[in-house]
């Protein structure tokens, strides 16, 4: 009978493990393998690297925000990545937002801390019209909205290849590596080639490159650095309470472990003469 409990436990464990394995991972199985980076916010003790997130905001502000909104974020949220109130006020001093004046007429006014990030386009139609018919996605929860999360977004930002400029040999090698069938792969002149984007044809031209921004903290702005920094910022944007979550989580689990120990001891005591 004991043996069967063991078998049962193993079967259930296998059942649970398999369902976990097949759950979220299932969809990404056919995609190319993403780069696996170490992120400061990973793991139960993870926190956001404040300096990287601040640099990441600079990348978003100077590059991404030309096309991508982050409508769930407010300027006050920037105080959560280590900036003081006055620093944030300085950062947004030159930002003007559309509003309705007291007389009901459309006006522009300076951004306040409580305002949400300025949207690059007045509405979704304008965004689509200015971008070849498809509105650039909002980036507020982008890290949560893609399988692979930060690794995927980093891969996308750094995964551009100048496909048409490749030598025939290099192109054949890349096609093989990414499982692309050249006879059906319709790569147009408006397309950009990306190793990690599903289907490898992406409308967005390479947004980042070496020296695309000049960091205020003096960090050398390589493509890799810019991509890491903006991912750090986007990760914060998608999950602003991660640090609270980790801190509370560790306390809750420690509490429950101690509680489980006490409850088990009392249970043993109570059952001592009944087994």
């Amino acid at each position: 009978m004991r043996k069967f409990f063991a078998t049962g436990a193993i079967a259930l464990a296998a059942a649970v493990t398999t369902s976990l394995a097949f759950g979220p991972a299932a969809i990404a199985a056919d995609e190319p393998k993403l780069p696996e980076l170490h992120w400061h916010f990973e793991g139960p003790f993870g926190t956001y690297d404040r300096a990287a997130a601040q640099r990441g905001y600079q990348v978003y502000k100077e590059v991404c925000s030309a096309c991508h909104s982050m409508s769930l974020l407010a300027y006050r949220n920037l105080m959560e990545i280590g900036l003081t109130e006055n620093q944030v006020k300085g950062l947004i001093a030159d930002i003007q937002l559309p509003d309705i004046g007291d007389d009901g007429a459309a006006i522009e006014r300076p951004a306040r801390l409580s305002d949400h990030f300025r949207k690059p386009f007045a509405n979704a139609l304008a965004a689509a019209a200015a971008n070849g018919g498809k509105a650039p996605p909002d980036l507020s929860v982008m890290i949560k909205a893609r399988d692979g999360g930060p690794d995927y977004v980093y891969g996308l930002l750094t995964g551009y290849v100048d496909y048409d400029a490749l030598s025939p040999d290099a192109k054949a090698k890349l096609n093989k590596e990414l499982d692309i069938d050249p006879s059906t792969f319709a790569f147009g002149k408006d397309d950009n080639f990306n190793k990690y984007f599903p289907g490898h044809r992406i409308a967005m031209p390479p947004p980042l490159s070496d020296g695309k921004v000049t960091y205020v903290d003096g960090t050398k702005a390589t493509l890799d650095q810019e991509a890491r920094d903006v991912v750090e910022f986007l990760a914060f944007a998608a999950d602003p309470h991660l640090e609270d979550r980790n801190r509370v989580g560790i306390r809750v689990i420690l509490f429950l472990l101690v509680l489980a120990g006490f409850v088990y001891a009392v249970k043993r005591q109570i059952w001592a003469n009944k087994h």
Binding site: F22, L72, A145, W271, K274
Partner: protein
């Protein structure tokens, strides 16, 4: 059995005695949760009823708080959930508890059902107890499905579209039923509104059915790992403190694993696509339901015919309603059924394989695999169980629960 023990309790507290004389809630609690004679040989599989109850209460408590901050409107639902995650004090905690809680509620209930199947808890005189349990499972599925629609992400929208469209497979009136369910000609604001209303209502109906489930349980008392009835006081212990404490330990351990996901991997069991706001014009590459529906989703897709698939999917639950009559063996516990005990594990593996098939796109070898697994699922219930009960020779059973416990202690 519940009636087999002592005189009504005498309460020293005068207020308690006054109330109890008029409304016997204290006597009821005393009888059903304190002195209630419970088989002394439960293993930890018997924790999962209590664990599921805790999860139900937790889901309702967190759900009410979420409802006070949620907006059921197609233009605002997604942002209102994000508002809870960002700006509502501790909103991230409440929402993660609720979202991950749905998965852990199903984990508890699936293990609880496995326990019932392995130890034959559905057999006479507990058939209605079991059927009420299957009703709870169905209500949970409906509630979870509608709850998943509320954040109004891509999987919310397309999951709702796929599942409600299943009813169009019904001949003649199918399309009218779908329009009626939607409250329009597509999944839209009226759909979201009614799903929210029903998602709030159904859990309280679940509470009512759980109450009936408990009444039915206490009529004849719990089954136990040996599957033999207690023959006297030596075979049982009072529910409190013995099982309150053992359940307390099981619940605490379950909570540790649950908390691990809530705090350190809240999105692990979900789908990334649901963080993309719903867009009726863009269909996701693969529409998949939440993991706890995957086996049934695989059964749905295994049948090449739409109506057939729908019937098979509902049949997979319906077959559970008649399980007490499909299993012809008079022995309850698989412990004494040398052949059946292996087939229970084969069924578990089959269920997991179905889950894997449900997660994969229906192409390649996953299609025949899901068909074989679906066929086996029904074969188990409709052919194997009735036949096995007739041909299997059960092992000798101990004379009583006390005998078995004391022999084990002596060894």
């Amino acid at each position: 059995m519940a009636s087999s023990h002592g005189a009504p309790p005498v309460f020293k507290n005068k207020i308690v005695a006054w109330i109890d004389y008029r409304l016997p809630i204290f006597s009821y609690m005393e009888k059903e949760y304190n002195t209630f004679p419970t088989p002394r040989n439960f293993n930890y599989f018997w924790n999962f009823g209590a664990i599921a109850t805790v999860m139900l209460v937790l889901m309702i408590a967190t759900g009410i708080v979420l409802a006070t901050n949620y907006t059921p409107n197609v233009d605002m639902a997604f942002d209102s959930v994000e508002r809870i995650m960002r700006d509502v004090p501790s909103g991230w905690l409440i929402r993660n508890l609720h979202m991950v809680g749905a998965s852990f509620f199903f984990i508890a209930v699936y293990i609880h059902i496995f326990r019932g199947i392995y130890y034959g808890s559905y057999k006479s005189p507990r058939e209605l107890l079991w059927i009420l349990g299957v009703v709870i499972l169905l209500l949970m599925m409906a509630t979870a499905f509608m709850g998943y629609v509320l954040p109004w992400g891509q999987m919310s929208f397309w999951g709702a579209t796929v599942i409600t469209n299943l009813f169009s497979a019904i001949p003649v009136v199918g399309q009218s039923i779908v329009t009626w369910l939607w409250g329009g000609f597509a999944v839209d604001n009226p759909t979201l509104n009614r799903f929210f209303a029903l998602h709030y209502l159904l859990p309280f109906i679940i509470v009512a059915v759980v109450a009936l489930h408990v009444v039915a349980l206490h009529q004849h008392g719990s089954n136990n790992p040996l599957g033999i009835d207690p023959k006297g006081p030596q075979d049982t212990v009072p529910f409190h403190p013995y099982y309150t404490m053992k359940d307390g330990f099981g619940i605490t351990v379950f909570m540790i694993i649950y908390a691990g996901f809530v705090f350190f991997a809240p999105d692990y069991l979900g789908d990334a696509d649901n963080y993309i706001p719903a867009n009726p014009l863009v269909t996701p590459t693969h529409i998949v339901p939440e993991w706890y529906f995957l086996p049934f989703y695989a059964i749905l897709r295994a049948i090449p015919d739409k109506l057939g698939g729908v019937l098979a999917m509902f049949g997979a639950i319906a077959v559970l309603f008649v399980l007490p009559w499909l299993d012809t063996s008079r022995v309850r516990s698989a412990t004494f059924r040398p052949i059946y005990q292996w087939f229970v594990f084969v069924l578990v593996i089959d269920f997991v394989v179905l889950g894997a098939c449900g997660a994969k796109p229906p192409e390649g070898f996953w299609v025949p695999l899901s068909q074989v697994a679906t066929a086996y699922y029904f074969f188990h219930f409709l052919v194997l169980l009735p036949v096995l009960g007739k041909i299997e020779r059960p092992l000798p059973m101990p004379a009583s629960i006390a005998d078995s416990v004391l022999i084990k202690k002596a060894v």
